[in-house]
């Protein structure tokens, strides 16, 4: 179990962690993994989120949906804040990273998330051609066949899609330069 090493509370506490974990951990992990693309970091954030939920007395009063929303906000903020709390907890079992590297890591994670979020915000038509061209390294001809559209359509979608991405990056404070 995720939290077994860090927790010494009574059995009721264990039961509450188990309930929260069963109800939310998998979805939280997927969400955070998408933000950070780092499985270890994502697991740390989920762990920290569960711990915070457990230590928050209002947790008992929230209904399921409210609690779930609260946990997603906490997880998102942890990622954006650089996850220092989660990192500190992790240092109990893992060697500490040098400060400078930790700062770089935080910036890398944040940038990567902002850029991924910008890419995710595009229309599927735009995203599908950009990811195929750039990340899948496909030619325009191959993309056209894959999507069953004319090659001119692929070029046109790249043309408009890259502009949309440029705007989405700017909206997130990423210069794209």
């Amino acid at each position: 179990m995720l939290l077994s090493g860090n927790h010494t509370g009574p059995a009721a506490m264990d039961a509450r962690i188990a309930v929260l974990h069963d109800q939310h951990a998998q979805d939280l992990l997927g969400y955070v993994l998408r933000m950070t693309a780092d499985p270890h970091l994502a697991e740390d954030i989920v762990q920290e989120t569960l711990l915070r939920a457990l230590s928050d007395p209002r947790t008992l009063d929230r209904d399921h949906d409210h609690q779930r929303a609260w946990m997603f906000v906490v997880a998102r903020n942890l990622a954006l804040d650089g996850l220092r709390s989660a990192r500190n907890r992790r240092e109990v079992t893992a060697p500490a990273l040098p400060e400078r590297t930790q700062g770089d890591l935080v910036n890398d994670v944040l940038d990567r998330w902002l850029i991924s979020d910008a890419l995710a915000s595009l229309s599927p038509a735009h995203r599908d051609v950009i990811v195929r061209a750039y990340h899948a390294d496909m030619s325009i001809a191959a993309i056209a066949i894959d999507l069953d559209v004319a090659q001119g359509t692929v070029k046109s979608r790249l043309h408009h899609g890259l502009r949309a991405l440029r705007i989405a990056l700017s909206e997130r404070g990423v210069g794209g330069r």
Partner: protein, 90 residues
């Protein structure tokens, strides 16, 4: 659909034009101020894309690879998002 060379700017930046297309586009670029401005404006985007891990990017693809088979994709598209300062047309 018109086949304006200006439309190839993104493909040029992403490096997916064929050799002949690349030569033709570079020739066009020399005489098209709009494209030169567009290329400058978009020049940072590939670098940003590089920061997105490949497996994460691929996971964002539509579930239906054939999603775009309907005919409206081949019709002139009047619903594009507004573009940044530079016009895409020559």
């Amino acid at each position: 659909m018109t086949d304006s060379p200006c439309r190839n700017d993104a493909a040029h930046l992403l490096g997916v034009l064929t050799g002949a297309e690349q030569v033709a586009y570079e020739r066009h670029l020399a005489g098209c101020a709009g494209c030169r401005a567009a290329i400058t404006d978009l020049s940072g985007v590939p670098g940003a894309l590089r920061r997105v891990p490949t497996d994460l990017a691929l996971s964002m693809l539509s579930d239906r690879a054939q999603h775009a088979t309907d005919r409206e994709d081949r019709a002139p598209n009047a619903t594009q998002r507004s573009e940044p300062g530079t016009s895409g047309r020559c």
